[in-house]
């Protein structure tokens, strides 16, 4: 079995089969994470570079952990302490890193399409760890994995994504991935935080969260960036909380078993209250663990034999 692409750039064009293969493989890696020694030699001898041109704690941590548990050698860099500060272009940075014989590159960049640009120009496999407001495929894959693990299936599930849809790469990847796997997706946000092309995304659109939650199996609560207020997109954080905050009172009208997801980091008391985030139906910490398993699966599947060897 093999993925049809040697890069993971996004879920928009990924097939049902490829997503299924990644999720199946991730199940085996989750088992590895439950062993006394959580490390396997599958990527021994390969080198992975983590290029984080944008700050990230958990995604970077998760990737580094996944790489180490597969026995890959890793080099990591973040913009704060690198030559990017000295004015080097993306292409130059990467050409330099490639000259050091790297097999896989994990990249996060504020410019949408940066991973695609790399993939077209270097030999290494490229994994998109978030590009601007475009895609964050491994986050969406871990969301799919978490839901499939809980429900045993994805088709027929109804998922509501609430929050800043317009600026969210997680929402975009989630929508594409979930729809490919047969789930139905609704988004809910104030109009200022909905993307202009939302009607073409194949999702139901709600302004009223209570209506959106009717019949929903899952709610995925997005982080609200506080700077949206200073951009004039929101009147105030308090008003956002009142209209879109996920609270126990608001969930009174939803299914009792509604699953709570959040990609993190959480603004407690803003988009979600602690009682909900830490409640019995929250899978937020499962998402974190599953993230490592899913990233291991992606790294492993993309490491496959070079086509040159016959």
């Amino acid at each position: 079995m093999k993925l049809t692409s040697r890069h993971l750039l996004g879920l928009e064009d990924m097939s049902w089969e490829d997503i299924g293969l990644i999720l199946d493989t991730a199940e085996s890696f989750k088992e590895v994470l439950e062993r006394p020694i959580k490390k396997v030699p599958a990527l021994r001898g390969l080198t992975v570079a983590n290029l984080f041109f944008e700050p990230s704690t958990r995604t970077r941590f998760s990737f580094e952990l996944a790489e180490k548990r597969l026995s890959a050698d890793t080099v990591s860099f973040s913009t704060a302490s690198s030559s990017v500060k000295k004015g080097e272009t993306l292409m130059d940075t990467v050409k330099n890193i490639e000259a050091m014989k790297i097999d896989q590159v994990v990249i996060r960049h504020s410019a949408p399409g940066a991973p695609h640009y790399l993939a077209a120009n270097i030999d290494a496999s490229v994994i998109n760890a978030g590009d601007g407001a475009h895609e964050h495929p491994t986050q969406a894959l871990l969301d799919l994995f978490t839901l499939r693990e809980k429900y045993g299936r994805l088709d027929g599930l109804r998922i509501v994504i609430v929050g800043d849809i317009a600026h969210s790469r997680v929402a975009r990847s989630d929508i594409w991935g979930l729809r490919t796997m047969g789930a139905s997706v609704a988004v809910c946000a104030p109009r200022t935080l909905l993307p202009l092309d939302v009607s073409q995304m194949g999702v139901e659109v709600f302004i009223d969260l209570d209506k959106a939650l009717e019949g929903a199996d899952v709610i995925n609560v997005l982080r609200l960036q506080r700077e949206r207020q200073s951009q004039g997109l929101l009147p105030s954080a308090r008003e956002y909380h009142r209209c879109y905050g996920v609270t126990l009172e608001r969930l009174a009208g939803a299914k009792k078993t509604l699953t709570i997801m959040h990609p993190g980091p959480i603004n407690r008391g803003l988009e979600i209250t602690p009682e909900v985030a830490d409640g019995p139906h929250s899978v937020i910490l499962d998402q974190v663990l599953n993230g490592v398993a899913v990233r291991m699966a992606v790294l492993f599947l993309l490491s496959g034999g070079e086509a040159g060897i016959q």
Binding site: K2, D24, T25, V32, V40, G304
Partner: protein, 181 residues
């Protein structure tokens, strides 16, 4: 294609291996059985079943998937499908009987041993195989062998088990024209 073991032969071989394991370990007190996917797991369960009926003890059975420990992951064209390893018991201080269907180069066993050691420190590891076909590339030998079958490199030994293949038999066939995976 020629059949070298039929269902009866396999049954007898497994019964003999089970007896040898009990004899060698003077009972089955600390014995656990771990089969290597994708045929060794079924043989492991059968061997454990025979030991249980003779010794009247319960024998833990585990399954090992060696994909992530293979030494040719970067060489093969297609990434093999990874399955789960399931060893839901402690192997520390136990006599682990590792079971595979065919012993050939020994590389699978090397990978299984490496993985086993990640689960704990067994008192001993013993190897049981249904067929030993030769062509070793590593210093590995089996403690219990169902049948020694001298083969040519171009041949392939196929073990079929009722649980997945519908019937029990071992056949030797000509390798189809493709690279080994």
């Amino acid at each position: 294609m020629s059949q070298i073991l039929d269902a009866k032969d396999i049954q007898r071989a497994i019964a003999r291996i089970a007896h040898e394991i009990i004899e060698h370990n003077r009972g089955a007190a600390d014995v656990v059985v771990v089969g290597i996917r994708a045929r060794g797991d079924y043989l492991a369960a059968r061997i454990a079943g025979v030991i249980e009926s003779i010794e009247q003890v319960s024998i833990p059975v585990g399954v090992i998937d060696i994909t992530l420990y293979r030494d040719d992951l970067q060489v093969v064209l297609e990434q093999p499908v990874v399955h789960k390893t399931e060893i839901p018991f402690d192997i520390e201080g136990k006599a682990v009987i590792l079971v595979d269907d065919v012993l050939n180069t020994g590389r699978t066993i090397r990978a299984a041993l490496d993985q086993l050691m990640d689960f704990g420190r067994p008192r001993s590891v013993q190897l049981a195989v249904l067929v030993d076909r030769g062509h070793r590339e590593l210093p590995i030998r089996a403690d219990y062998v169902g049948k020694n079958v001298p083969t040519a490199r171009g041949q392939r030994v196929v073990v079929r088990v009722g649980e997945v293949d519908g019937s029990d038999e071992v056949v030797v066939e000509k390798e189809p024209r493709r690279r080994r995976t």
